[in-house]
């Protein structure tokens, strides 16, 4: 089997620096990432359609599908693990067209997603679900950028250091879930 790579990346990402990554490779992510889930995406699209400028640049950006717990006084952030990515599939192409370079979440996504990632040159990264307390320790800064009225679905900018991720879907159609299942399955259904 091909050796798994471990890479350190810093946002914003360029297509060139992520093109060689394969499903199963480990990524330590640094820099700014943007937290957005269901309603956040809806609002972002509404604003873009109205011609408003977003409070961050989508070019080379990374979106983290998550909705953290409230922050305790004196802390940076609460628990912040990934939510199920497939709910955001319907928004993906719109943001890829505008420069989004990677998304972070958990779970398999719809078939079309892999084609979109190939077409636009982007990655789908997997964070460990149900490890929100642990993942919060890699966040060094948090700022609410917009939609504070949405509570846990507000748009956040996080600064992360060595945020631990796995490449789930790469740009060549590689798929961590499918490859893993094929290797370990020994039953027919």
């Amino acid at each position: 089997m091909e050796e798994r790579k471990e890479v350190i990346l810093k946002t914003p990402l360029s297509v060139e620096e992520i093109r060689f990554l394969k499903a199963g490779d480990k990524v330590y992510l640094n820099g700014f990432i943007y937290v957005a889930r269901d309603l956040t995406h809806h609002r972002l699209m509404e604003d873009l359609e109205k011609g408003k400028e977003l409070p961050f640049s989508l070019s080379g950006s990374v979106i983290y599908y998550a909705g953290p717990t409230p922050t305790r006084r004196g802390e940076i952030i609460g628990s912040v693990g990934p939510t199920t990515s497939s709910r955001m599939d319907k928004y993906l192409e719109y943001f890829l067209q505008r420069g989004l370079r990677a998304t972070i979440g958990k779970g398999e996504r719809k078939k079309e997603v892999k084609k979109l990632l190939e077409k636009y040159g982007a990655l789908y990264l997997l964070a460990c679900g149900g490890a929100g307390a642990y993942l919060s320790t890699f966040v060094v800064e948090k700022e609410i950028l917009a939609y504070e009225d949405l509570g846990a679905q507000a748009l956040l900018r996080l600064k992360v250091e060595q945020f631990p991720l796995l490449v789930a879907y790469d740009m060549q159609g590689g798929d961590i879930f499918e490859e893993g299942k094929i290797k370990y399955r020994n039953i027919t259904v």
Partner: protein
């Protein structure tokens, strides 16, 4: 008649909710360690290691184990000779949730109406199942789980007279399609019999029991073990990255059923199994 104090119930439920969201039970930690020893896939081991790191960080920093602190479910078995002084059980449960979620920086994820509602702001109400019984005892099984694993729930309407193999096939097919999205390794609840909605309730009720509490009927106990092993042969693995541990436990609950029906409810819980049982 046995009288229970409203405030006593509120306080005990509040404390239980606070703890179960932050501290994972010893038996779960042991199961995860066992899973780590079973897995030879690096990726699966990586996920399990993070899960175990998470137990430590959550407890040390007093943070919820998962950002999705759920919609609280309570299965309540109330003896007919039990009376609550100073309010209803429903009010007590709501009040306990309100306090636990407001005072501990847990996420409030409940909206007051699916179409027209707003966030209730305190994670109330919970989902309650009341079961009346004889006697003077009260038992509350609390279960907190996120939306991700609830979303893979499924109802199978099988042919009357179905065999265990057919029920198993339904479960394997459903989990094969969606299991990876629900944060495996999973605790899998299977309800068989009753009518269609009751089968789903049975599955959900099965999850509300503590870890390691299996079906007392040895025939079902054997099926629970076999289905767990077969689910693990699907290869889904921790977080879906491939591996040998997809399921920690299967729990089966059954009920008499109509001669023309064979409903099977499937409800799952993610690896962050947050459960507590309170008894009076």
């Amino acid at each position: 008649m046995k009288e229970l104090e409203f405030q006593d119930i509120v306080q005990q439920v509040e404390k239980a909710l606070q703890e179960l969201n932050i501290i994972s039970p010893q038996l779960l930690r042991e199961k995860m360690l066992e899973a780590l020893a079973t897995e030879d896939n690096d990726l699966a081991r990586e996920m399990l290691s993070q899960v175990m790191e998470n137990y430590i960080v959550a407890e040390e920093r007093n943070l919820p184990l998962c950002q999705d602190t759920g919609m609280v479910m309570a299965k309540v078995e109330k003896g007919e000779e039990v009376k609550v002084k100073g309010g209803s059980l429903r009010q007590a449960l709501d009040e306990a949730i309100r306090r636990a979620y407001s005072n501990n920086y847990f996420r409030k994820s409940v909206i007051s109406d699916p179409f027209f509602g707003k966030n209730t702001g305190d994670n109330t109400p919970g989902v309650y199942f009341f079961e009346l019984q004889e006697g003077d005892s009260l038992r509350i099984d609390l279960l907190v789980k996120g939306g991700g694993c609830d979303n893979i729930s499924s109802l199978g309407i099988l042919e009357p007279g179905s065999e265990p193999e057919e029920v198993e096939r339904f479960i394997l097919q459903e989990l094969d399609k969606k299991g990876g999205q629900a944060c495996p390794p999973l605790v899998v609840g299977v309800g068989i019999g009753g009518n269609a909605p009751y089968a789903l309730y049975l599955a959900s009720r099965a999850l509300s029991r503590p870890l390691g509490e299996f079906n007392p009927d040895p025939r079902y106990r054997e099926l629970e073990e076999k289905w767990r092993e077969d689910i693990n042969r699907l290869g889904i693995g921790p977080q879906g990255v491939g591996g040998r541990v997809t399921c920690l436990e299967v729990r089966i609950e059954t009920y008499p059923c109509h001669i023309a029906s064979f409903p099977v409810g499937l409800v799952c819980n993610c690896h962050v199994f947050r459960q507590k049982t309170l008894k009076w």
